[in-house]
Symmetry: C3
Subunit: 320 residues, 3 copies
């Protein structure tokens, strides 16, 4: 059904509009929205693989990347996506330097808003920062990760990667493993994958397992060997050292022993199971380094590749 919807969307893009002004989270999107975004993104995959990667779609538009947390891949992905669509892109890292003078998020946002951007892509350490921002500005806000809440473009690129590799999401058994509690990637993926009909297993130590996700019909496991049984997709999460109280875990070694993806644990999943990771990876902590690089099993590079395509689709669709 998903594929049919995507085909429909591809045939009649002009008739479809997105239901939201901003992209703040997967929870705000309808299945039609999602399929519209994914079908647009598919068209950008080939562009990004071609010799000439430049369009004029967003020429004359201004995109501001406003990053309050450091990021290599997400910020780069959005920057390249905007530039390839012809937008004027300005990237601002407010991790150490700015806001030194004590300005608030809202004052910063209002200031940038007055410069008439068309798009603000924001990453912020506080859950809901992007929602607050979206109420204050005139332009489109794209959430590039806010606290523990949502990271919608990550989930969309994960979905696109699965569809490209498996042909569908509906009916697949997908395990999401690791530090679920602190993970916006996990949250956005749970919302999106269950919406698209996947059977989602959550695998985490009990103290890294959130208590608020029951209503999404997911299955919870604290034993990875049980959680990976018969899975089509094993999605590992980054161990968020910087966001975690040291008392959560005994040691990296113990974490690897029980929750790191190793060949013997992967054997429990289906023979053709694929490995995913949003990056950056802690090799030897949440994932065996050889598995991470196994091009027959790992689609981690494809995730990054399709990430640019998904972000191009989001910038194009939400900008108006």
């Amino acid at each position: 059904m998903v594929i049919e919807l995507i085909l429909m969307a591809t045939k009649s893009n002009k008739a479809i509009k997105i239901s939201q002004k901003h992209l703040l989270g997967i929870q705000d999107l309808s299945i039609t929205d999602v399929n519209f975004i994914l079908s647009e993104a598919k068209q950008f995959i080939n562009l990004n693989r071609s010799k000439n990667k430049k369009l004029d779609t967003l020429r004359g538009k201004t995109q501001i990347n406003l990053f309050f947390e450091p990021s290599t891949r997400t910020q780069s992905s959005f920057e390249l996506a905007g530039k390839r669509l012809g937008a004027d892109v300005m990237s601002m890292n407010i991790v150490n330097s700015a806001i030194k003078k004590g300005e608030t998020l809202i004052d910063t946002a209002m200031t940038l808003n007055a410069m008439h951007p068309d798009l603000i892509v924001i990453r912020h350490q506080d859950s809901g920062a992007c929602n607050l921002l979206s109420q204050k500005v005139n332009c489109t806000v794209i959430n590039a990760g806010d606290g523990r809440r949502e990271h919608p473009t990550q989930a969309l690129l994960d979905a696109l990667t699965i569809i490209e590799k498996k042909g569908k999401i509906q009916g697949l058994k997908i395990a999401i493993c690791g530090d679920i509690l602190h993970s916006r990637v996990a949250r956005s993926n749970i919302y999106l994958l269950t919406m698209l009909g996947a059977d989602v297993n959550i695998v985490a130590p009990t103290n890294l397992m959130p208590k608020d996700l029951e209503k999404f019909g997911i299955n919870k496991f604290s034993d990875m060997k049980k959680g990976l049984y018969d899975c089509d997709i094993v999605m590992m999460l980054r161990l968020q050292n910087e966001r975690m109280n040291s008392s959560f875990l005994a040691s990296n070694r113990e974490y690897y022993e029980y929750y790191g993806l190793t060949p013997d644990k992967l054997d429990i999943a289906k023979d053709d199971a694929l490995i995913m990771h949003p990056g950056p990876m802690n090799r030897g902590i949440e994932i065996d380094t050889n598995l991470a690089d196994d091009i027959n099993k790992s689609v981690i590079q494809e995730q990054v590749e399709l990430g640019v395509a998904v972000r191009m689709a989001c910038l194009k669709i939400f900008c108006n």
Copy 2:
């Protein structure tokens, strides 16, 4: 008269040329120069509000933003201004990172100059750094703030904002309040607003009041309630904590009591008085937070908005 000059300028832009190669300070500009810049800027206001914000005016030109002090709004404003005019813009933050190897301002400038930029936009903590730079390079130098000396584009955008809101500057009573001593914004505004015929009041604690501004025909006040009497414009300054010796002030609370803009103090100004601030604001120190956000009185967002237009005008006019 100002408006007439602006209208004249609008009608015959091609005949007018700027008298200076560089934009180092308001004090170097003639009233004709100022009106030429403001009339050009007016044309960019609508461009910035439109869907397509891109011109080819500076295509093929190279603009380097060379910032030795951190800045969110001024640097962003210049970056967007240059990009919207089609220039290749390169922004360099030399606050912490560069000059680590011990290179001097002049060596940095000479190096960049050899790369044939057409414009260098510089902010530096030393008064006169931009003048020194302008003697060493072949390209146009735009001062984006140097020490306590001048911040000419800030004054120009303030003037444009007043003209847009009040229709004129001539004859208006304008109070500039706060840390005048350390403020390049105050200096550039005093030069420009008196040139354009305003009646300027300076309000500051005696130890933050400079001694060298008498010749500009300004009125000095240490009592804010006297200084704001009958004013059309109340321009608040940022309390420059980082530039101020701690001995200047007893406490932020006391400063707010005597020199913070509060509703009761604003009542002393005209009923339709407008509030301005160059940002970033210290809410609750130099300005009441509700007043800052009062869209009927505060034109702080308009200042930022028109700032991009003014900088586009300056980049276009001074680049040759």
Copy 3:
């Protein structure tokens, strides 16, 4: 012979191709490659001096500048080179900020590679980092300096500067002076200048003199007055304080006394000898400040200027 080759190359650029996919070091290049690059670079010198410095040669291409060491001039030079050729340029400084999360060089490179750049320009503190990178990515890798190993575009711009000023390199006597041991600039220049037929003198304190360069037919000197005798070119190196164990040198003052370029030492070279320095300079340590600025003797600014042209040539030729 060199000039003839260059003329030949200029006449028939289309027939010539570079022998390498990547630009990792001078040692990988043939003399035909070098002359091809230099002849292309000559064509960009005038472009950079003209009013319109923009081409569409690399429109639709993505260039990523990946700098693991701080750099003002090299990074700026590559950024402007790419932008003037119409590429989408993304600059990433991974000095302090990124890789904070512990990602490896290879993971960073693989991630960026998945975004389909056409060119990665890399500077890294480890010798051979760019070679490692080039084995992992699909796109062209340009070495912007790796550890003590090579800095090929610096040597190419130095060669172009000498050819522009002296008409040739063959037969010239060229002294390279200073901290040879830690200098990638020295290594790349030794490879290139000897390849192009220069007679190269190396001048360094014995503990800063490498032991592995005999096979290139260079002459070694620990006495600067002997090493500069009859030279056409005196190329000074930056004293790499940050890379040097403090035990190498007694003091800056003593270094200047014995190895700093001063008027009396320069007198030993030919009357029309030219001074070069890759920058940034330590004035008063490795070079007398007045000599550095003497426009009749110093071609330091020309080096920077031609650096942009050389990098444009390299980006154009190696991108495919």
